[in-house]
């Protein structure tokens, strides 16, 4: 029995994993979660304490494969902004990611009744890497070639009238949604005075937390768990909250499997020692 367990076929584990993931997706249990005070709460507080009508910039530096982590973060932050009446400027360092999330942002904006050009603007992807961003920082209109994602000139977008530069007076906060490079280094290196917060995929958390104590990051949403926390803070449970149970269950499954593996291993070892 124990020997059998010792060499358990992986396919049983795969089946178990599918089951523990699918059931909570279809029927969530709703386990309560606590909010991370050092990361998520800080970011929430920062946005909460901005004066109304502040301008927040989204920088999308992620690809669509991080969909399940990034989308709930974007939605939760937008919900928060809608409650506080902030303005939104969407930009991206990754072309594919920006193309992927732009329609989703438009959809949400419609729900909040935001008017394009007045309440939010999407400037689209600007090629050329950090050099372009430095140029945009000095002269936004010229550096960004003066047109938005659809090719509409900035003159026709009233919101753009207040955006001439990237500096703390113009942009009150940059929110970067990042899953890799190029990412927040652009802002930390070239625009260290503009407040920056980050929505981070899980794999990037451990390399990002060191920027929190130095103040280079004002807060951070750590992975899907963080997105669920943010949803809790803004009071609109969404995808992340719904999937958090599946996350919990899968983590517990892995931990149980580790325990089971050890039981099988030591059991089999003891048995073979007795047999000898």
């Amino acid at each position: 029995m124990l020997e059998k367990l010792n060499n358990l076929d992986s396919r049983w584990m795969y089946l178990a994993l599918v089951i523990v993931l699918v059931i909570p997706i279809i029927k969530p249990i709703g386990m309560s979660i606590s909010v991370n005070k050092d990361l998520t709460q800080r970011m929430y507080d920062f946005i909460e304490n901005l004066p109304p009508d502040s301008l927040i910039m989204f920088d999308i530096a992620s690809s669509s494969s991080s969909d399940t982590e990034i989308t709930p973060m974007i939605y939760a932050v937008m919900e928060h902004m809608a409650k506080k009446g902030h303005k939104l400027l969407v930009a991206g360092q990754w072309e594919s990611g920006l193309a992927y999330w732009s329609p989703k942002i438009d959809e949400r904006a419609k729900e909040y009744g935001w008017k394009y050009g007045v309440d939010y603007v999407n400037i689209g992807f600007k090629a050329g890497g950090t050099a372009t961003w430095r140029a945009i920082g000095q002269d936004f209109w010229k550096g960004a070639v003066g047109v938005d994602i659809n090719g509409t000139p900035f003159e026709e977008l009233p919101l753009m009238a207040r955006i001439k530069k990237i500096d703390p007076e113009t942009i009150d906060l940059i929110v970067i949604y990042e899953s890799g490079s190029p990412g927040m280094e652009t802002w930390i290196t070239y625009f260290p005075t503009v407040p920056l917060v980050k929505g981070s995929v899980a794999a990037e958390i451990s390399s990002s937390v060191r920027y929190i104590p130095t103040g280079q990051l004002k807060g951070l949403i750590p992975g899907m768990r963080g997105a669920a926390e943010y949803e809790k803070l803004v009071g609109r449970p969404g995808i992340a909250t719904q999937l958090m149970d599946a996350q919990s269950m899968s983590h517990i499954l892995v931990i149980l499997l580790i325990a089971l593996g050890n039981v099988a291993y030591f059991g089999a070892k003891k048995k073979s020692a007795e047999a000898r």
Partner: protein
């Protein structure tokens, strides 16, 4: 060419790839070979569009004739598949490219390294900084290959460094789990939501 057809291809491809978990099978193999073929072609097309064509149109045709020299040398690389007598010609472009890359990294690599070394001793303040330093030294000693291999002290240090490294790997493993499951959840949502319509999210 409808979006629905795209979704259907996506669903079949997703199931085909997942079937590999049960067993290697022709269904998987079909998608494997398809993706390799498409991806090899895509690599060529992207290089053609982003490098070869612009270099030709905006460089050489605009008078940057010196580019023809590296271009001509680069063509020698195809002698790799020529008869054995001429194969050695391909080593010239190879040597050139390797030279460029080596020179580039010899110049750039030390810079971030300076920042890393500075980071080890700047801002010492509490007990943690000294734990940090001790572990750092341990790990550096661990990677010394040729000195002190007979010393008991070095061996002990290496063991401690090894334990610290194992802790690091454990933490890295544990932290990655969340992200990987998020990806799988994304795929399951595609199947259960976009395709079957069993789940409504958001």
């Amino acid at each position: 060419m409808t979006p629905e057809l795209q979704t259907w291809i996506g669903v079949i491809a997703t199931l085909g790839i997942f079937s590999f978990l049960i067993k290697e099978n022709p269904f998987y193999r079909f998608f494997e070979y398809t993706v390799i073929g498409l991806s090899a072609a895509h690599t060529v097309v992207m290089t053609w569009d982003n490098y070869t064509k612009p270099f030709w149109n905006n460089g050489i045709m605009k008078g940057e004739y010196y580019l023809l020299i590296p271009g001509a040398i680069a063509i020698l690389y195809y002698f790799r598949y020529a008869p054995a007598k001429y194969q050695w010609l391909y080593r010239y472009p190879l040597a050139l490219i390797m030279g460029y890359d080596i020179g580039y990294s010899l110049a750039y690599d030390p810079r971030p390294f300076m920042v890393q070394i500075r980071g080890t001793f700047e801002g010492l303040k509490d007990l943690n900084s000294f734990i940090y330093l001790a572990i750092f030294f341990g790990v550096v000693v661990y990677f010394i290959f040729t000195f002190g291999n007979k010393s008991k002290g070095v061996e002990k240090t290496r063991n401690i460094a090894r334990y610290a490294m194992m802790m690091y790997f454990g933490v890295a493993f544990g932290n990655t789990v969340q992200g990987r499951f998020s990806l799988l959840l994304g795929r399951l949502l595609f199947l259960l939501g976009d395709w079957l319509g069993l789940v409504k999210l958001g």
